[in-house]
């Protein structure tokens, strides 16, 4: 096993160094200034909001993405990883948030795949492999049957297997990308004990987490990223949670958002103790007429899942959803639509639009029954409906039959909105309404949403864009790991309180 003997004191040798690394995808800059310095004998935290560039940075170190510029060196030697195999060979292992197991293969094969031990004849040496797997699990103090297939293993066990894999190839740099996101407290304790022992063996560990308690419990150094760029690195002993949150958010949440005076009417949407086992639990909230309720939280907190359950796309185990006093049937989107519920999904390209269809046909999808005469929809009826909405939403397109897939993201989103507005819903659920669209169109979408509330619509807005939630929402609900951890009024909600509730289990209900 690996041991960096000469460097056991703090001030330890540098294991991995990244400077000035950039990475763009088309016009989107995912990483502007990637900087990181990992030392042996250290657990280094990497923190930042969703979209801060953490994942891109990790994927560059893992050899999955090729950086556009910048340098990466391991133990002082410049390296350039073209494939994941290169990174592995150099001693870098990554434990992903959702480990990538080979579900049909045995646990043992999962550990050794890519470098299966062979006997002299060149056959896979199953005995040796099993023995080594057992030894690894004994060392990690876990009981996983090496012969079972990986399918059905808990996330925690899958991560242990990833760690076993890393140890077996004697990785000197171990990257753990939000490993605790799906773990129970007991599993987190086990993982931390293992992580500490790996650190004591001299390995350099990068630990990505949104949970402050965990970072302060486990790590010694923290690097903060924001908007695809490096912000700071400091020893944890010399910094506070408050500093880190400020560095993560790092910008003034201004009031550029159209709010105006809103009068809230009666309750339109009432969600009571909605539970889907293992996904979200006891979700309770209301949306009133003329109100925007923001649903904040980190990616993976269960926000979209709640929205999909309310709209009837996904099943849930218990709880009720009512629209203006009428119960919405489970798992029946048509019923929800009939009652006046609209849903603009997160992934507009896959869930919101039929990309090959023209604009007017897309816009008419949600109301096709209403449009039909004797079961037949004519183009002229579709077009007249589309013209009304597309001009009201200022969609920029050449013709009504332009395929939706050819439009910009912002215009696509407007068409999805048009589709639902044509059905004149009473409550509209929007999931990440402005993700990936330009600033100008974003403001237009915000104005549309504000106008809709003035007309008495209730809106549930899921958004990972903190300024957007703070600017637009009359009330902010914060979810963390499938539960609502805070409900903040527009006045009480600020970046820090939302971030705190999104990352801490015991949060205040204001």
């Amino acid at each position: 096993m690996f041991n960096e003997e000469s460097t056991s004191s703090p001030g330890m040798a540098i294991a991995l160094e990244m400077t000035g690394v950039t990475k763009s995808f088309g016009a989107v800059v995912a990483l502007r200034d990637g900087e990181l310095r990992l030392r042996y004998h250290s657990v280094h935290a990497l923190m930042g909001e969703n979209g801060a560039g953490k994942s891109t940075l990790v994927k560059i170190i893992a050899g999955l993405y090729l950086p556009d510029a910048g340098t990466l060196s391991l133990a002082g030697n410049p390296v350039s990883f073209k494939t994941t195999a290169d990174a592995k060979a150099a001693g870098v292992a990554v434990v992903y948030q959702e480990p990538t197991m080979l579900p049909h293969l045995s646990v043992t094969e999962n550990i050794f795949m890519g470098r299966l031990p062979t006997s002299r004849s060149g056959n896979v040496d199953r005995k040796r492999m099993r023995r080594e797997a057992r030894a690894l699990f004994d060392r990690l103090g876990v009981h996983i049957d090496p012969d079972r297939i990986a399918d059905g293993l808990s996330i925690a066990d899958q991560q242990i297997i990833e760690i076993a894999k890393a140890i077996s190839m004697d990785a000197r740099v171990l990257i753990m990308d939000e490993p605790t996101a799906a773990l129970s407290p007991e599993e987190v304790r086990r993982l931390f004990a293992i992580t500490r022992s790996l650190r004591d063996e001299g390995r350099a560990i990068l630990f990505i987490s949104h949970r402050f308690e965990e970072v302060w419990d486990l790590c010694d150094t923290v690097t903060v990223m924001r908007d695809g760029a490096y912000v700071s690195t400091s020893p944890l002993a010399e910094t506070t949670e408050r500093d880190v949150v400020r560095q993560m958010v790092g910008r003034d949440v201004d009031s550029l958002y159209p709010r105006g005076e809103r009068t809230h009417g009666n309750t339109l949407l009432k969600v009571h103790e909605l539970t889907s086992l293992g996904v979200f639990h006891d979700i309770d909230f209301e949306v009133r007429a003329g109100e925007i309720v923001g649903l904040a939280g980190l990616v993976g907190a269960g926000r979209s899942e709640v929205a999909r359950a309310i709209f009837g796309v996904d099943r849930y185990d218990s709880g009720t959803v009512e629209l203006d006093g009428t119960p919405v049937r489970r798992h029946d989107p048509l019923h929800a639509m009939g009652l006046g519920l609209g849903f603009v999904p997160e992934d507009r390209r896959h869930q919101g639009l039929i990309l090959e269809f023209g604009l007017s046909r897309n816009a008419a999808l949600a109301v096709r029954r209403m449009l039909a005469r004797l079961g037949i929809i004519t183009d002229s009826r579709e077009n007249s409906l589309a013209r009304t909405w597309l001009s009201r939403l200022q969609v920029k397109a050449r013709a009504l039959d332009t395929p939706a897939g050819t439009l910009s993201g912002g215009n696509q989103q407007k068409i999805v909105l048009a589709k639902w507005l044509a059905a004149s819903p009473r409550v509209l659920i929007v999931d990440e309404p402005t993700r990936g669209i330009d600033v100008g169109t974003k403001a237009e979408v915000h104005q549309i949403l504000a106008d809709l509330t003035h007309a008495g619509m209730g809106i549930l807005m899921i958004s990972s864009d903190l300024p957007e939630v703070l600017g637009m929402a009359d009330r902010v609900l914060v979810m963390r790991e499938g539960r609502i951890t805070a409900e903040l009024s527009h006045e009480d909600a600020d970046a820090e309180s939302v971030m705190y509730a999104a990352t801490h289990s015991e949060a205040v209900k204001a």
């Binding site: 896979v124 297939i149 059905g152």
Partner: protein, 344 residues
């Protein structure tokens, strides 16, 4: 598939027996045995007639190698629909070469068919593994192209038994220790490929690639090379099956083996090879092929009308897949219950 695998050493003899029964391969063997039993009870000559055992072994000897070839490709989460067309070209190559050069050693002709198959398979491999085109579409295309080449090459002619050397025809119907020669070749293929798929690191990588292609990329496996080789192997085996086809029937035209590609897929799926890759065994696919062929022979004996014979095969495939799905769902439910309990 969906079976929960546990360490054999922890199981009682009874549990181990149950686990063996639960595997798809043994289920197919049992169904096959029952089928033979029932058909023999109905008409004893099915097994005990002068050619009973011989027919039982000889008839599947062409489909077995094709099913093996298909299984190797399916395991990588790809498909090879061109196997029957490659078989056709292999058969035409063997028959026409031997008709024109009666003195050639048979093994040389067989090697020629294998090489031709490998070349045709490598065309599939380049398009699928290197260019990243979907296997379904690529091999659907080459299915037609290869058959078209066959039509062009055969030019409307038929090579019949009278044109072929006696030695070749005798080899096709001959047997060794009561086992038909062609079945011996098929068995050698099954044993060799089964051994390879179980024991060699590169073969385990084929399973890994089919099980989770993205994970295979993260692991740094040479996915392209492996998938390419799987298609070359499939083509080579199909080419050899063409040689066997010519030997068995003694008459070859441009349509030899036409339609067998779907039988090969059906045999593999029936034998427990997952259509989405990552699981199943080659010998399972082989035994699936034997079952498929034997059903077609047994159903008329059992008095099942012609019309229903294909439907029965279809029902068998659907039944097998529905059963898998049910087992998988039960398995998933059990696991999520366990996890809920652990978390409370």
């Amino acid at each position: 598939m969906s079976a929960i695998q546990t360490r054999p050493s922890q199981l009682t003899a009874g549990q181990r027996f149950a686990a063996v029964l639960a595997s798809r391969e043994s289920a197919v063997v049992i169904v096959l045995a029952l089928l033979i039993l029932v058909a023999t009870l109905q008409n004893p000559s099915f097994l005990f007639g002068p050619d009973g055992v011989r027919d039982l072994l000889l008839t599947p000897s062409i489909l077995v190698p094709l099913a093996v070839a298909q299984a190797v490709v399916l395991i990588t989460r790809n498909i090879d629909l061109s196997v029957a067309s490659i078989l056709g070209l292999g058969a035409w190559l063997s028959a026409s070469t031997l008709a024109n050069n009666p003195g050639l050693p048979l093994w040389l002709v067989a090697v020629g068919a294998v090489v031709l198959g490998a070349v045709l398979g490598s065309v599939n491999g380049v398009l699928i593994a290197v260019l990243g085109a979907p296997a379904l579409v690529v091999t659907l295309g080459t299915l037609y192209i290869y058959r078209g080449l066959n039509v062009l090459w055969a030019d409307g002619k038929v090579v019949s038994a009278v044109n072929m050397p006696k030695e070749f025809l005798e080899f096709g119907v001959g047997s060794l220790l009561g086992i038909p020669n062609l079945m011996i070749i098929a068995l050698v293929i099954v044993v060799a490929v089964t051994w390879y798929m179980r024991s060699r690191p590169s073969a385990r990588e084929l399973y890994a690639i089919g099980s989770a292609p993205f994970a295979a990329t993260l692991l740094g496996l040479p996915s392209k090379r492996r998938v390419f080789m799987a298609l070359v192997a499939s083509g080579a085996i199909a080419g050899l099956a063409g040689f066997m086809y010519a030997a068995r029937y003694g008459a070859v035209d441009s349509q030899a083996g036409s339609g067998l590609e779907l039988s090969a897929v059906a045999a593999a799926v029936l034998g427990g090879v997952a259509i989405f890759g990552g699981s199943g065994t080659v010998w399972g696919a082989a035994i699936g092929a034997v079952l498929l062929v034997t059903i077609n022979r047994a159903l008329p004996i059992l008095g099942v009308p012609d019309f229903w014979q294909r439907a029965v095969v279809g029902l068998l495939i659907l039944g097998a897949i529905v059963l898998d799905r049910l087992l998988a769902l039960r398995h998933a439910r059990k696991l999520s219950e366990i996890r809920e309990k652990e978390n409370d």
